[in-house]
């Protein structure tokens, strides 16, 4: 049995030293509670909405503050997240697996959301590696940071690379308040659906740790979860409440599930790689798609339908210029897309 401690706490923005102290306290609290793994949220050491503060709180992997935290992990594992500065001075949103006094593995966030309320790519460089790591826990561990798990291939690659325990560390701001869904918050509903799906499709444990607290306009919603390899949630932390939540799991469940539901066994890596290579070549204009519509853009099988792009435009200064339905071009008649 493994006891996992979910550190659903509220880092103080930009206050690295204070957050470091809090990490030490929470690691000790988890250890006292018998936990073998402690998971902290994305940028738990620095806070999320850093903007130009990112460079001020960045650390090289040799930083003594990281070493002090690693030293605190004797006899257990901890996933901690911070701003990593590389030797060539790129800044990454990093999550490290620390075990038995050492930094075992560092994942650099690959997908940096830069849309809507997010502006990460302005301040950070994207990672280039998605890889599972061996662990003292006896299973492979795969780490993703927040948006990394809004891309299907991240949990899939981690599972194919040997991970049986997927960790997602997040700073997800709550939004889309709604009266009719599971928890009254659109963000939470989306996340929970995704995480449960990944656990089921990768037949792995998924540990999702999301922070709480307020930064500027944003309120982070917490709601951390542990989901079993059958996709069933084992534990759901409350929304918005700070706490160190401890959850017991049986890692042997992975074997049982994978024997009963051998999805990973059935994956067709060579097919996937071949088709991806084909799409890459077509997008680059190096090959033509023999089954595409005439007029389709390179790499896309389907030609655009005239008139569709005008729908749903943003408000304009002169709304009178919005074309009326009668001025729209006739939609082309439907025809067989495939031959």
């Amino acid at each position: 049995m493994l006891r996992i401690a979910l550190a659903q706490f509220a880092p103080i923005l930009g206050a690295l030293d204070d957050n470091l102290v809090r990490h030490h306290e929470l690691i000790e609290e988890a250890r006292a509670g018998g936990a073998g793994l402690v998971v902290f949220p994305e940028l738990g050491l620095t806070g999320y909405q850093l903007q130009d503060l990112a460079a001020d709180v960045a650390m090289h992997l040799g930083d003594p503050r990281l070493a002090s935290l690693a030293a605190a992990t004797r006899g257990l594992s901890a996933a901690v997240s911070f701003v990593e500065e590389s030797g060539d001075h790129r800044l990454f949103i990093a999550a490290a697996l620390m075990e038995d006094g050492e930094i075992r593995h560092v994942h650099r966030k690959v997908y940096l959301p830069t849309y809507g309320l997010f502006d990460e790519r302005r301040f950070f460089a994207p990672g280039d590696v998605i890889r599972a790591t061996p662990s003292r826990l006896g299973v492979g561990v795969g780490i993703g940071v927040c948006e990394d798990f809004w891309h299907l291939q991240t949990p899939q690659l981690l599972a194919l690379d040997g991970a049986q325990l997927l960790l997602n560390v997040s700073s997800s701001p709550g939004r889309d308040l709604a009266a009719r869904n599971e928890v009254g918050l659109g963000t939470a509903t989306s996340w929970r659906a995704l995480m449960r799906t990944y656990a089921q499709l990768t037949t792995s444990f998924v540990v999702f740790v999301n922070r709480v607290g307020v930064e500027e306009s944003m309120t982070f919603w917490g709601g951390s979860e542990v989901i079993g390899p059958s996709g069933e949630p084992i534990f759901s932390a409350p929304l918005f409440d700070e706490g160190l939540y401890q959850v017991d799991v049986h890692l042997e469940d992975v074997r049982r599930e994978r024997i009963a539901l051998p999805l990973l066994r059935e994956e067709r890596l060579e097919l996937q790689a071949r088709e991806l290579q084909r799409i890459v070549a077509e997008r680059a204009g190096l090959a033509t798609d023999s089954t595409a519509d005439p007029g389709a853009e390179p790499g896309l099988a389907v030609a655009p339908v005239p008139g569709r792009a005008e729908r749903g435009a943003e408000p304009e200064a002169e709304p009178a210029s919005e074309p009326g339905a009668e001025e729209s071009p006739e939609p082309i008649s439907l025809r067989s897309r495939r031959r």
């Binding site: 903007q51 930064e215 500027e216 749903g312 709304p319």
Partner: protein
Amino acid sequence: MSEVQPLPVDDDGRPLFELPDELAIDTDVARRVITGFIQGQLRQAGFERCVLGLSGGIDSALVAYLVAEAIGADRLLCVLMPYRTSSPASRLDAETIVADLGCPSELVEITPMVDAYVGRDGTPGAGGPEALEASPVRRGNLMARTRMAVLYDQSVVFAGLVVGTGNKTESLIGYTTLFGDSACAFNPVGDLYKSQVRQLAAAMGVPKEVIAKAPSADLWPDQTDEGEGAFSYPVLDRILYWRIDRRRGVDELVEMGFDRALIERVDRLVATSEFKRQVPPVAKLGPRTAGVDYLYPRRRPGSARS
């Protein structure tokens, strides 16, 4: 599964207000997020108290209840700032709210301040003879900015942050006075449409008469928002929601049954008031310019008042 709570009803069993289906929110979650937001803003700024202008209308009433829930009524100062033409009924509603919450309050009549500029009974004020003929809109703006000046002064005395009370609907259509009622340290309800303000106000226990009465800026006698703007809030809220939050096009809204002329009018209001929702641009000259390429969070280590 969260569900929409039943709407409050008046003495005859009719709903106090209309709540369009797509605008219904989970008020428990909203309450939790907003009270945490208020606590967070204060903590990060190094303050423990709040000040707000209480008009007797639903927006400021709701914010007063939210602040009281977040930090305790004793840490909230409600400032009542009537002008001589202000509705006596609103004043009574404001006093009811203060009594219900048990929070400290101040009464500051702004009549002498405003009249000192626009003049009164044919006697010119500091604005000269021309200001005697000032339009209702000019007078309304002056009142809003006078209230802002009073609030920010009271905030020093009470050692509190000024809390904004403007809702999303009025912000989007620009039904606000720049540097007047929109001025604040933070705004807990600025992302709630008027219909959602009503829903949350009902859930928070704001008095029914405050929820049910016709919204008014009360800048001149018998003024109402819906009368002045010739719209109804539920329809306006829905148009804004579909156009802005859900990015639907004009034609799509027409197909949904909205009036094209009204949609286009709302679009124009949104576009022409864009400037009211943004920080004024600074001419870019130096290597790093605030808001352009000098980007820091408002609150960071060292920024809190100690």
